[in-house]
């Protein structure tokens, strides 16, 4: 059977994921990532509405402390990424669903074997916060959740990897990059 670029044709009861083209599978993977981030956003909004901003932030922070290791483990298992160096962390970031969902443009670069840079040029999360004037939520996401999230993720590869934000929002114009992070192995 020819690969299907989408599922606009008739229902096939025995259709499997393997029958789709790679592009279709990547689009569905991006959709799953967006649903992942989006569902967390729905929980956050509901709690903010019912229990207040402060409680929403505290619970969301606790949530991600519990969820981060699950996210990392699932991706490492799926893609067989088992090293404990900085390159392994960047490999994880390249195929992680969280990034795939909200970073349409980003790059990972190794400066030397113990130092890597993640540059996020476009971040849909940041663009949402900017569009809706959600300064508080942006600070919470970028300065708390992301700082802790990258640290937690890197620590799962190697506790000696230190993560430093080199640039964080807010930014003066949409032409600026969204953020930039250094991953460095202390030797």
């Amino acid at each position: 059977m020819e690969e299907l670029p989408d599922y606009s044709g008739r229902l096939k009861s025995d259709l499997r994921m393997q029958d789709f083209s790679k592009d279709a599978l990547v689009r569905l993977w991006q959709a799953a990532g967006k649903l992942y981030v989006g569902l967390d956003g729905l929980w956050y909004s509901l709690i903010r509405e019912r229990l207040g901003e402060q409680m929403a932030r505290e619970l969301d922070r606790e949530l991600w402390k519990r969820a981060a290791h699950l996210e990392v483990r699932r991706v490492r298992e799926a893609m067989n990424i088992w090293g404990e160096d900085v390159a392994s962390v960047l490999k994880f970031l390249q195929v992680d669903l969280g990034g795939g969902a909200i970073w349409p443009d980003f790059e990972c670069e190794m400066k030397d074997r113990n130092r890597g840079i993640l540059t996020i040029r476009r971040c849909l999360g940041l663009e949402y916060y900017e569009r809706h004037g959600e300064t508080t939520l942006q600070k919470h996401a970028c300065e708390v959740l992301d700082v802790e999230g990258f640290e937690d993720a890197a620590r799962l590869f190697n506790p000696n990897i230190k993560v430093t934000p080199l640039k964080l929002p807010p930014r003066k114009s949409p032409e600026e990059i969204a953020c930039q992070w250094e991953f460095k192995l202390k030797v």
Partner: protein
């Protein structure tokens, strides 16, 4: 470049997802889909510990109805270009929803589907979940309250709500729901029918 079957090799700054084999991409998709449904489970667990079952379950339902479900439809039908208002269309969506059938598959490389779809005729279809990871989790942890929440308070109205977004005349009826007496039994079965 040869297709990569995983990312155990060297870091490649220019790597793109289509550089991976289909099997690797499906593993990544299944893992992302588990994370998606899993984040709801982590939230529900956290809220149960802080505020008790009732509030946690009520919040969980509010998250899904209707915004979470609406997002699930949109994010699935758009990338796969699924359009229509018949039962076949609803089944096409459910067949590849990251929150549903994508998770309920066997191990690679076959990824055998654990949800089957049968059209009896154009206005009548049967969906059968032969194995359900969520049910197996509830059974393993003897978490009957969570099983009842998932199957009876969320899934039953959710399938009806989801189907009605495609066609308001579709009626969804559970033919079999958990609990079950043995693991050899199917997890659940649902009838989708357009009432003329």
């Amino acid at each position: 470049m040869d297709e990569l079957n995983d990312y155990s090799g060297e870091f490649d700054p220019d790597l793109r997802l289509p550089d991976f084999s289909k099997e690797a991409l499906i593993r990544l998709l299944v893992s992302a889909s588990k994370a998606y449904l899993g984040i709801d489970g982590v939230w529900t667990t956290l809220m149960r510990r802080k505020y008790g079952d009732r509030l946690a379950f009520d919040y969980d339902k509010e998250v899904w109805f209707p915004q979470g479900l609406a997002l699930d439809i949109r994010r699935t039908v758009e990338p796969l270009n699924i359009r229509g208002d018949d039962i076949a269309t609803v089944f096409k969506y459910l067949q590849f929803s990251p929150g549903f059938s994508v998770i309920y598959v066997g191990p690679p490389p076959e990824f055998e589907p654990y949800v089957s779809f049968e059209l009896k005729n154009k206005n009548h279809g049967i969906m059968t979940v032969t194995r359900c990871n969520s049910l197996e989790y509830f059974e393993r942890h003897k978490d009957s309250p969570l099983q009842k929440l998932a199957c009876e308070e969320i899934d039953a109205p959710a399938f009806q709500w989801l189907a009605s977004q495609f066609n308001s005349n579709i009626k969804v009826t559970p033919l079999k729901l958990p609990p079950r007496k043995s693991k050899r039994e199917i997890a659940c079965q649902w009838q989708f029918k357009i009432e003329a």
